[in-house]
């Protein structure tokens, strides 16, 4: 397979284009995973701006019209709206899990049913978040169930 790497200036946005016969091939998935792990989002905390890798994010949540990015143990405020997060996360392991949240499927330890007809996802840092039944199909598709 031919591999081309082109060095570009700092002012240009980094981009990866895959030309392949089968978009569902294992190696394409691996490239996609690696690329999405490099994708970043900006978050503020105590007046300091941080650049966070999407792969570090546990979930994004919108509370009272304010957006937050939650990582292992920290919370950052972000400027993006939920639909912008969703668009940013296309092709990554993050998916819309409820009306106000985008969750990283990679960080889910396990899920359990809730009496309220929804699911409770227990994350690897011990946090519990709600997954609406409406979005469970997306999680199943993402995991390959």
């Amino acid at each position: 397979m031919k591999v081309t790497v082109e060095q570009i200036g700092r002012q240009c946005e980094e981009e990866l284009i895959v030309r392949c016969h089968d978009p569902g091939a294992d190696w394409v998935e691996s490239v996609r995973e690696a690329a999405s792990g490099q994708q970043t989002v900006c978050g503020w905390r105590e007046g300091v701006l941080y650049r966070l890798k999407l792969s570090e994010a546990f979930y994004f949540e919108v509370v009272d019209d304010r957006s937050f990015v939650y990582t292992q143990a920290e919370v950052f405020e972000a400027k993006e709206k939920l639909y912008e997060f969703e668009r940013l996360c296309t092709g990554s392991t993050l998916f819309r899990c409820s009306k106000s949240m985008v969750l990283n499927a990679e960080k889910i330890d396990y899920v359990r049913p809730s009496l309220s007809g929804r699911f409770e996802a227990v994350l690897s840092n011990g946090e519990k978040v709600i997954v609406s039944r409406k979005y469970v199909a997306d999680l199943k598709r993402m995991l390959g169930v």
């Binding site: 409820s98 009306k99 106000s100 949240m101 889910i108 330890d109 396990y110 899920v111 359990r112 049913p113 809730s114 009496l115 309220s116 007809g117 929804r118 699911f119 709600i130 609406s132 039944r133 469970v136 999680l139 199943k140 995991l143 390959g144 169930v145």
Partner: protein
Amino acid sequence: MTIYGIIMLCTFFMCLLFNPASELPVVTFFGRIMVFTLIALLSLAVYYSKEELTVKAWWVRTVLHLLLLEAVLLPLAHYWGFWQSGTDILIYAGFILLAEALWHLVDYSINAKTAAQINERIRKNRLEKKTGKE
């Protein structure tokens, strides 16, 4: 479908217990069950919310849903002769409560099955990653 089945079961047991000799044309019977189901489905609007419901809000709405069902279905069932008087109304109200509980139970067991599938996949993916790294 679940609601329709539950209502059919409840109606069957109500007739079996209180009026086993009753006769009802098939079309009338199924038609009434369909009306009950439609009401039950429309009453689900109480769960509508722009925001994600908290557990507390969900319980409040579930109680409201039950009260709404009792308030609409009891008079209608009386009009159609499903219950006559006295203790009948308590038993019929109990059936509605039981139907609501059964519906949530069926819902919960379907979700439990889905959760088990997801957890199994998460476990496999984790194992594949682990063995892939080694």
